[in-house]
């Protein structure tokens, strides 16, 4: 069955640097992948969606790539700020269902 995996270890970076988070999936390429941000004690909030036929998507300081050959999506935050510290989740859709990765916690230190 399809699985979606994210690095469970926290990512610690210095303010101003670019953070890169990885989302890997097995088997078939989903029609699209989504990225969400979750703060402690809150529900996830949608950030970006990238379709299978799109290589890259940008939104302000955020960039997402989708490599169907590597079966991987990369999520970048440029010029990172302490306020970017949160857990980031990727998700794919299989029909009407959405399956989430375990999330990667990002810590941006001033």
């Amino acid at each position: 069955s399809q699985k979606i995996e994210q690095n469970s270890e926290a990512l610690n970076i210095q303010e101003g640097k670019t953070a890169t988070l990885t989302c890997n999936y097995t088997n078939y390429s989903p029609a699209y992948l989504q990225w969400y941000r979750q703060d402690p004690g809150r529900g996830p909030v949608f950030l970006l969606l990238i379709r299978e036929n799109e290589k890259e998507k940008r939104k302000e300081r955020l960039k997402v790539t989708f490599d169907t050959t590597l079966k991987q999506s990369l999520f970048h935050i440029t010029a990172s700020q302490p306020a970017d510290s949160a857990t980031y989740l990727c998700a794919y859709n299989a029909g009407n269902m959405f399956t989430f990765g375990g999330g990667t916690r990002l810590m941006v230190k001033p």
């Binding site: 529900g43 949608f46 969606l49 998700a91 859709n93 269902m97 989430f100 375990g102």
Partner: protein
């Protein structure tokens, strides 16, 4: 615009008790979802609905029942709570246009 509202936000139950979590959305979305989130397990889909009067099983449906009598409401029931159901429960609705999910703030349930 409230978005997705979950009630209650916190609840403590004893083993064997029953309860219902209510999810309400005001965005006229057809699709609604119930997830549970546990440390190290991520979000796991319990049940979902593609429209009023319909429900379907997700990844971890055992021990839960759902109902979607009105388009704006999606109820999650626990008939006989077990300690393994201690978790944070999230409801979400889906925009047909953009595909994005809108989540509630979560309901933290503890079963003793």
């Amino acid at each position: 615009n409230a978005g997705v509202t979950q009630t209650p936000k916190f609840r403590v139950l004893k083993t064997g008790q029953s309860m219902t979590l209510l999810c309400a959305q005001d965005m006229n979305h057809e699709y609604m979802y119930w997830y549970r989130q546990d440390p190290g397990m991520g979000l796991r889909l319990i049940h979902y609905s593609v429209g009023e009067g319909t429900t379907a099983k997700g990844e971890v449906p055992d021990g839960y029942n759902v109902s979607r009598l009105k388009k704006q409401n999606f109820l999650l029931g626990l008939e006989s709570a077990a300690p393994s159901q201690t978790s944070v429960y999230f409801c979400a609705s889906r925009s047909q246009g953009t595909g994005e999910l809108f989540f509630g703030e979560g309901s933290r349930l503890t079963v003793l």
